[in-house]
């Protein structure tokens, strides 16, 4: 488990638990769809993404809002979000001091009261109109819809660099041992029924890049099917994933996930029962 040491000045359970108090859930009214965007130092890419997403969501028949989760930016990311002009689609800013994309997404999901919740990357690697296919599927009762670059109809707009492809292949092989019903676990575009998302993420612990895999692994073991839809994916500049710094961290996260999964497979762990119960109910 990768958890921050408790701060003597702020004895807060780090990681996934969202402490009660003035988190912005009280300010965020219930909407049909809430889109979580984890962001760390995204001042360059965020304005365009917010503009495109706001435009798209404003044109939909359902109500929607956007939640940017600031994961410790030193740039103007919080200034951009909190100064975003008032539009029909509200743009909220939430902070997450635990580093890692997993922690940030979890904070966004667990503070949401929306009927449907999903997350996407700040760089808009997956086109927004993919939601045209996601929302009907969710409304038909599918609990999880994930974007996939590895199923029929998917495409890379531009070829990925070789090292990235090799690492990706290695990761997929390892991932297959914990999740076998999804071909592409790492596409940063996943949408959930609200109650499903809240239950799954509450059971998750991974803070880093491999958090998607943990969510899907727990979902699979809860009897919660995920539907893959093909996406046209564009590799963007400015990826923060670095093999040298993050490779070891990802390996450790993978080991943790396998540990969790073994535990779930072996025993009817109480937490698992509660996840299944919540999902059934």
């Amino acid at each position: 488990m990768i958890e921050a040491a408790a701060d003597p000045c702020a004895p807060v359970p780090a990681g996934g638990e969202v402490p009660p108090g003035p988190s912005s859930e009280s300010r965020r009214g219930g909407v049909t769809l809430e889109v979580v965007i984890p962001a760390r130092n995204e001042e360059r890419r965020l304005p365009e993404t917010l503009e495109v997403l706001c435009d798209y969501l404003a044109g939909q028949s359902y109500t929607a809002s956007i939640v940017v989760v600031d994961n410790g930016s030193v740039d103007r990311t919080p200034d951009i979000v909190s100064g975003w002009p008032k539009t029909p689609v509200n743009v909220h800013l939430v902070g997450c001091s635990t580093p890692g994309k997993g922690a940030a997404v979890r904070r966004g999901v667990l503070t949401s009261t929306a009927d449907f919740i999903g997350f996407m990357d700040a760089d808009l690697a997956t086109p927004v109109d993919t939601l045209d296919r996601v929302m009907p599927l969710l409304r038909q009762g599918n609990p999880i819809v994930v974007g996939s670059r590895r199923c029929a109809g998917a495409a890379y707009e531009a070829a990925q660099p070789l090292t990235r492809r090799i690492c990706g292949e290695g990761f997929r092989r390892l991932a297959r041992s914990v999740v076998d019903n999804v071909h592409d676990t790492q596409c940063g575009f996943k949408f959930f029924r609200g109650d499903v998302a809240r239950t799954l993420f509450a059971a998750c612990q991974i803070n880093g890049f491999a958090f998607d895999l943990e969510v899907l692994a727990i979902a699979q073991r809860s009897g919660c099917p995920a539907i893959e839809i093909p996406v046209r994916w564009t590799a963007r500049d400015g990826s923060t994933l670095r093999l040298a710094t993050h490779g070891r961290e990802i390996a450790r996260e993978l080991a943790n996930i396998r540990h969790t999964v073994r535990r779930l497979d072996r025993s009817r762990h109480s937490e698992m029962v509660s996840v299944r119960g919540a999902l059934a109910g």
């Binding site: 702020a10 780090a14 108090g21 988190s23 600031d70 030193v74 103007r76 800013l93 635990t98």
Partner: protein
Amino acid sequence: MTPPSMVTTSLSALKGRRILFMNWRCLDHPRAGGAETFVFEVARRFVRAGAGVTVFAARPRSLPRDSTVDGIRLVRRGEEFSVYAHGAMYLAQHRGDFDVIVDCQNGIPFYAALFAGSRTRVVCVIHHVHQQQFNQRFGRPMSSVGRFLEGPASRAVYGTRPVAVVSPSTRQMVRRQLGLRGPLFVVPNGSYPTSSHVSCTGPRAQAPTIASVGRLVPHKRTELLIEAVPSLLAAWPDLRVEIVGDGPERGRLEALIRRLALEETVTLRGYVSRDRLNAVLRSAWISVNASDGEGWGLSVIEANALGRPVVARRVPGLRDSIVDGVTGWLYDGHGDLAVAIDRGLRVTAHQDTAAALAERCRSWAAQFSWDSTAGRLAAVIAEELLDHPDRRTHQGHRSDLACMVEFEVRDPEHFAERAAHVLRPTDMWVIDGLRVRLLLYGCDEGQAAHIVARLGVTDAVRARVATGHDLLVPFASVARPAGVSG
């Protein structure tokens, strides 16, 4: 508007402490600038608070090796570059003589953390990140050396020691370009002409007048202002441009003025006295700063203090010191300078608008006092002087997030007592009646709620992520018009 209680608390923690400032130059140095003003304004206030203050700086030929000014002990050794070797020697010889060393980094640091021994407490002060300027100033091998000394070498030497930065822009560059790992605290500059000893209201010139203040060095881009003048003359035939400051670019600028036949319009005033500078600023309608980037923009606040708005490019430093549309105007590309100046002149052409603008500029400038600077730096030092300073960084789990929290208390005095126990010296707060506003470094809304709960407050707490503006002036009341932050 830093609350006096907070400032005095932090300053009083320095009583009896021995503090060494290491700075490139001293205030009497012929080329002293903003960084030197910062050190001496702060040092004077530390002395008044009862601290023993020594300043180490380079020694120009004309100045004595050792002297005392305003209770500050001055140690001058070495020249422009040898000062760093002398600094290392001085630190090694005086190990244990100081409780804390304030290492002011001006491109090249003193590496106090290396030479003073690993147990000495060190606080870095960074005005400006020079990674790009090394290329402009030095040739190929030297610029790489400079970049290495400022970046990777500093990162290794200073470790997780705290860094005081003068603006949100510098904060961003210190973390992202230099990669320093320590917690970052914004400690803004004060401003020179405080309204108490300079008459802030003065008539401006009849003719539309632009002032530009700054050293004439390449990155200030004064030539862009001169090049914009011909296109402005059509709409403003009696335009006057007053350029104050001196430097290596002067010859080139004079030639440019002759070539564009602007001798009647543009005047290079050179270096002038403080009174003359204030007179020039007062005569102007607006001030212009075409610089490619600053650490902060002291000259912006000086113009604001005299009620003059500033036109500048949206670049680091200036985008912090100017509130766009409130205390001046920011433009994006170089080509937009003339348009932005034209707009500034049109807005200020109306006496009423100009007066309202002047009032906003003055109230913005009043946010920046050297008392507040000294108090905020004292807080960083006080935190580092604790037995177990909380140095963990974003990698070691001290986040770069900060939170603004607002709530009401029933008993302000009881609250202040609790706050002194629960909060860290660098957390800032004000009480306005029963309403408390609090800036907490290194935490998100959830953690902020826990901290506030430990203060005995549980209900109606509002928390939000702090913006760069909040870090600069946490409790400022200058209204920011909606939609200008993009």
